[in-house]
Amino acid sequence: MKFSVALLIAFLALVHSRPAEAYPHFIGHGYPSCLNCHYNPLGNGPLTDYGRSVGADLVSSGMFYPQNWSDEKVASLSGFLFRTPVQDHIRTQINYRGLYLIQNPGTSIEKKQWINMQADGQLILKFLEDDKLTFVGDFGYSPPEQPIPGEDPNKKFRSREYYVGYRFSPAIGVYAGFMDKAYGIRVAEHIDFNRVIPQVTQDDQTHGVMVHFVNEEWEGAVQGFVGNLQQASDLRQKGFSAIVERSVNEIHRVGFSVMKTSGEYLSLLSGALHGRFSLKDGSAVLVELGQTRKSTQNGTGDRNSRYGLLQTYLRPIRGLYFLANIEYLKGDVTNDSTTIRWGPGVQFFPVQKLELRLDVDDSRNFNPNASTVDNWMVLLQTHVWL
């Protein structure tokens, strides 16, 4: 116990954090709903015990385990710090994700940097039969990249979610607290790029209430929110969002999202269509197309933006995924400029609790009226969860 806490504190003191990540492509493993593996029914955040065992067995390669280890033996090590839980009501988790980023490699303006993307500790309290009542809290070291006037630069920690959830039945649950907005597909590349437009990035959680429902054919959530209550009242984006998905042939999902938010200076109206398609045996395709209308008080930012995501995951062997990622962004639908970000990647889970990833990205703007060039990036990621 002392060792666990000391390790957690030392860990959080050493690193600082940014985005969380979900794995919606696991629909390719026959998991169309995030609820199986995450406490948050829309994904992201801490894993359930079942999710941890899936990560240990189905997701990781297994090639480095002793041959005489059964799946049950591997799963028994999927708990916090490789231990099997000895009680039913408390769970703790640690997530670290680091990124070595090389921008414009091989050019005179090449830039290399290590970014601590995520360094969070999480606490889950769960009670009643089938864990109907849950409390989830997240805490991470995350200093602001640049000082913001009016905010204390010495405040370097933040929580990205804390909420209470109650499931009246397996089909319906209510969640209240601070959490991500119910909108679109949550994958890291998308969050870094296109999800800046509808403002659903890694830092855009909101206080609100969400109702989630799921059955064999349908899954969805409706959320009403009042903005981030820790923020100045004139900056808070209040509104609602909703996401609905329908199963197709039991293994695919298609759906849509809508969101309306407004504050004193800015209003956004967003809509998106998405699909998650299983290619079976762990392979999958994710698609999203969305549009956001932005209205600003002084008129300088008024515009309609359109965006798209196409991401494929091919799994040749257990633990290994080959990625292809294409993103489309039209910052203003009335002009000729369009940005495409595309590139291949490899995601590898050699053992449980460890993910290694290599991506190569090229961002290129296509504008018939201007000279533009390729912006290449190489991204090497390490993700550890304990």
Binding site: L12, T107, D138, R158, D204, G227, Y265
Partner: protein, 123 residues
């Protein structure tokens, strides 16, 4: 069944409370980006430069806090993309010269010169 680890709960609870402190998000600079803008007038070249920055840089870099830099001093001291008095070695100008930014290539040579003139003559 083992005893509930109360100390673990207490530590996490304190951390969760502390975590409420840092709240920077996509809306942190809304007032500066989309509200009434009041620029510092001590640098005579800044207003023209800010118009270029607003249209060609800040409008896309909404997740940075460039919008709040409403004076030359803030750009020089905080932004990390401007070196006072040395435009050609400033990352802002280097990115433009290399045609990397703005990504839609829409900045004109006269707009670039406005930025160069501003940086080279910063007080």
């Amino acid at each position: 069944m083992k005893k509930t680890p109360l100390r673990q709960i207490a530590i996490f609870s304190v951390m969760a409370l502390l975590g409420a402190c840092q709240v920077t998000n996509s809306n942190s600079t809304d007032e500066f980006q989309y509200g009434p803008i009041q620029l510092d007038s001590s640098d005579p070249n800044f207003a023209a430069a800010y118009r270029v920055l607003q249209n060609k840089c800040i409008s896309c870099h909404t997740h940075s806090n460039w919008a709040v830099y409403t004076s030359s001093a803030l750009w020089a001291d905080e932004s990390r993309v401007v070196i006072r008095g040395d435009a050609e070695n400033s990352p802002l100008i280097q990115q433009i010269r290399a045609n990397l930014m703005p990504q839609d290539g829409s900045i004109s040579s006269s707009e670039t010169q406005t930025l160069v003139n501003w940086i080279d003559n910063m007080p």
